[in-house]
Subunit: 329 residues, 2 copies
């Protein structure tokens, strides 16, 4: 649920407000606000809420209604993956300008397609008219015996990432420039694949100490791990796997900027005890046909640091990707 709060200073107020609330059901709540999901009860029921607003998270000119639904559901299910939770079902709330038309049905078909892809069912819905933007709010419900939190990383751990980064950001950049994005970039934005099976497998192998999904951009999300785990994180610029569409559409530095600052890749970022990632990487790649790349190291201290190709290490601002800015730029 954190992606919507975002890393921007504008939400510090609300974030602190959420955290300061009394936790009156503390015996039932195993993980409260501040991680990707809440986890409740003896069964480890895992819950996250993710709201997508037209003009903020997407534009209707960019996506079909079916893609809007698919993408919103993928973002929520990705939060379950980040906790190593098996998806069970979705609840969907739609506010839609013409709720009786085909568009509402098409959005729901997109949600349903994503749900089927992760063997989740639809638990319920609420559809209402919107006098303004299309709003798709998805609650993903899962189950985890042993949630992987953001807070478990320790100095000496290694930082790994699944897949390649920056594809969705390359698509947004093309649209904003008035161009059509490359098909692979468009696909990365419109149909992200939550790394559900990958996360469950990784967590089951042991040695994964922290995990989240990349929704705010690598810089911001690495910052979440650093803050939650009270550690520093050093990212190797040369090691970050850049999505082909981001790499070809720009200079090397632009590709890296897309990966670091561009949001919504919905890949996994994880910390693992030293050596464990290397032991798992080959089988992971074979099993899932997805890359697993070591991109950095967890250190004592705080903040996120970027080791440049030159060898120089610089502090990285934690701003990351800010959903608020999409329309203003």
């Amino acid at each position: 649920m954190d992606p919507g709060l975002g890393p921007g200073p504008e939400f510090d107020l609300i974030r602190s407000f959420l955290r300061d609330l009394p936790r009156v059901s503390g015996d039932v709540v195993r993980v409260g606000p501040g991680d990707d999901c809440a986890v409740i009860g003896t069964e480890g029921i895992t819950l996250t809420i993710d709201m997508a607003v037209e003009g903020v998270h997407f534009r209707r000119e960019w996506l079909t209604p079916e893609e809007i639904g698919y993408r919103a559901a993928a973002a929520a299910v990705s939060d379950l993956a980040a906790m190593a939770a098996e998806p069970l079902g979705l609840l969907v709330a739609l506010a839609i300008p013409a709720p009786d038309g085909d568009e509402a049905k098409q959005v729901m078909q997109g949600v349903a397609a994503l749900a089927r892809s992760v063997s989740a069912t639809l638990l319920g819905g609420d559809v209402t008219r919107s006098p303004g933007p299309l709003v798709v709010d998805i609650v993903a419900v899962g189950r985890t015996a042993q949630p992987v939190l953001r807070s478990g990383a320790a100095p000496g751990d290694e930082l790994w990432v699944t897949g390649r980064l920056g594809g969705a950001a390359a698509a947004v950049r093309a649209w904003r420039s008035g161009d059509q994005p490359a098909p692979a970039a468009r696909e990365a934005f419109a149909r992200p694949t939550p790394r559900t099976a990958e996360a469950l497998w990784l967590a089951a192998q042991g040695g994964v100490t922290a995990m989240l999904d990349l929704s705010d951009g690598l810089a911001g999300d690495a910052g979440h791990v650093a803050t939650a785990s009270r550690v520093g994180v050093v990212v190797d610029a040369a090691a970050v796997p850049i999505h082909a569409a981001a790499a070809t559409a720009a200079t090397d530095d632009d590709g890296l900027a897309h990966a670091l600052g561009g949001g919504e890749d919905y890949e996994l970022l994880l910390a693992a005890v030293a050596g464990r990632g290397a032991e798992l990487a080959d089988e992971f790649r074979t099993r899932f046909a997805v890359e697993l790349t070591r991109i950095g190291t967890v250190v004592e201290g705080s903040g996120v640091w970027l080791r440049q190709r030159s060898g120089a290490v610089e502090a990285m601002p934690l701003g990351g990707y800010d959903h608020m800015r999409m329309e203003e730029e």
Copy 2:
């Protein structure tokens, strides 16, 4: 979650779409879409989603930001009560024109105040900018050992209702006419009280066969019981308890119209085996200082019927209250 779907024909499409989806996690899902909440897992975790949209469910001129949050949370928690579920926590998604300002914080304070009143915690949140209306989406999470469904009513059962009806509708009517509502009507709209303790107590006594919360108006919600239970329902016009603000603001017939067609009273409507309600009513009133009134009978057949004060029985249209129409009228 049904209130947002509403009884209007415009949602038949979406409603049928929700129901036709495969239930791939059927062993985990104890109650799926179509009741007030979904119920999952061995612990009976109970989930509902309820979206409130400015200009559809409320207007900012009518309510303070704190009341907007309180009311939205009350509506969701009322769905838990309808299943006889104990509240555990809330997830909140806000889309708000100026998310960094005091308004977001005030909405959250309203949500938190309602949460505290039912000993629920805040499980998480997602706050984003809205380019249009203020949207408050609340997920209420509870737990029930024995959910009371809409589908358990049988011919011969009696129909009972808590509290008095039509107060919120009287407030909306006053605002629409350019008047200020009576304080009691305004309070009924702005600060509805979910009947959580009442529902848990009633369900624990046994003999309650069906229950829901009144969000679509008595006519529409009685229709939900009739449809789900495959029975008919006869409501006695003379027995319906009219809210003082609705009764004084209008003729007798107008007061009844507010109760039957006006939505969002968030009182409980229940069916109980013959005689059970009468056995419970005195203790209920003493315990909760809330009325419990027999308003009708469950019969063989289908649909909702109104027994007029004259004795004549007429079919009641199931239209009920339609959230879609608030702005159009």
